[in-house]
Symmetry: C2
């Protein structure tokens, strides 16, 4: 419902109709729209973070971890139109209402944690930021980035500045 | 109006009321909501890009340019709640509707162009992506990043990978 109609167009009534349940069961289980949005976005962030964790769990060395992180950027993040839209709906909500930033903060913590067996924490924060920036720019630029750009960015970031 | 009510809550009627003009003058000057949104977001992106260009125009060397780019990330981007929200409203709109990606593409081109007197085009693309990622993560994380993080990221990115 959020992918189709956005946060602004999502209501208990619409969700109940889509789920084919009585409206009363929505208001019984969810204490207002915020409870419903929190549940939806928390689950969404969990699914995307889990995908990144699975990619990274297969890595046995620094090089494998960096390759896996690049593959996550290039193949998993915003892999569908649905993911792209829901992520930006969450970011817009969290931009407007700081009480939703616990969801985005927890998501960043999980992505960074996948890197921490391999790099120091500053590098993990920078790689996570680069993941965000490259993924958004790939999605919102009219031309595709050149192949290998994510791996190049990662290679530059893993060396400390002089 | 977009900062307050979002794209979904912005209408000719509301804009006319806020501007204290007759509704008919809105529909006379703007050929539908898309024309109004395009004008609003194009102006917004222009204002933010111009701020970055002014920062960078004062730089006379590579080091000054990189310091200015870091200052732009840390002080200008999402400098107000209004900017943070409008940017994310634009990104969500462009995520949903590819025909708006000419606005985000032109914005990226201008930011990258501020760097191109100083670095090669791949490095400019990577610095622009890092600007995006660091700015969003600073805004949507509950804790502030450590001081100097943007400058550290930039220093790592300006050296080509081995």
């Amino acid at each position: 419902m959020i992918a189709e109609h956005g946060v602004a167009g999502t209501s208990h009534r619409r969700v109940a109709a889509a789920a084919d349940v009585p409206l009363g069961s929505m208001t019984y289980h969810f204490d207002g729209m915020d409870a419903l949005l929190r549940e939806a976005f928390t689950r969404f962030a969990d699914q995307v973070a889990t995908l990144a964790e699975r990619r990274m769990a297969a890595a046995g060395s620094l090089e494998e971890a960096l390759d896996a992180f690049a593959a996550n950027i290039e193949e998993d993040v915003f892999g569908t139109q649905r993911d792209l839209v829901i992520t930006h709906e969450l970011y817009t909500l969290a931009a407007r209402r700081p009480e939703y930033r616990d969801i985005t903060t927890a998501w960043m913590a999980r992505t960074r944690a996948t890197l921490e067996p391999f790099v120091d924490s500053t590098t993990a924060v920078l790689l996570d930021a680069m993941n965000e920036g490259l993924s958004i720019h790939r999605a919102l630029h009219q031309r595709s980035p050149r192949p290998g750009l994510a791996r190049e960015a990662i290679a530059r970031l893993v060396r400390p500045a002089p």
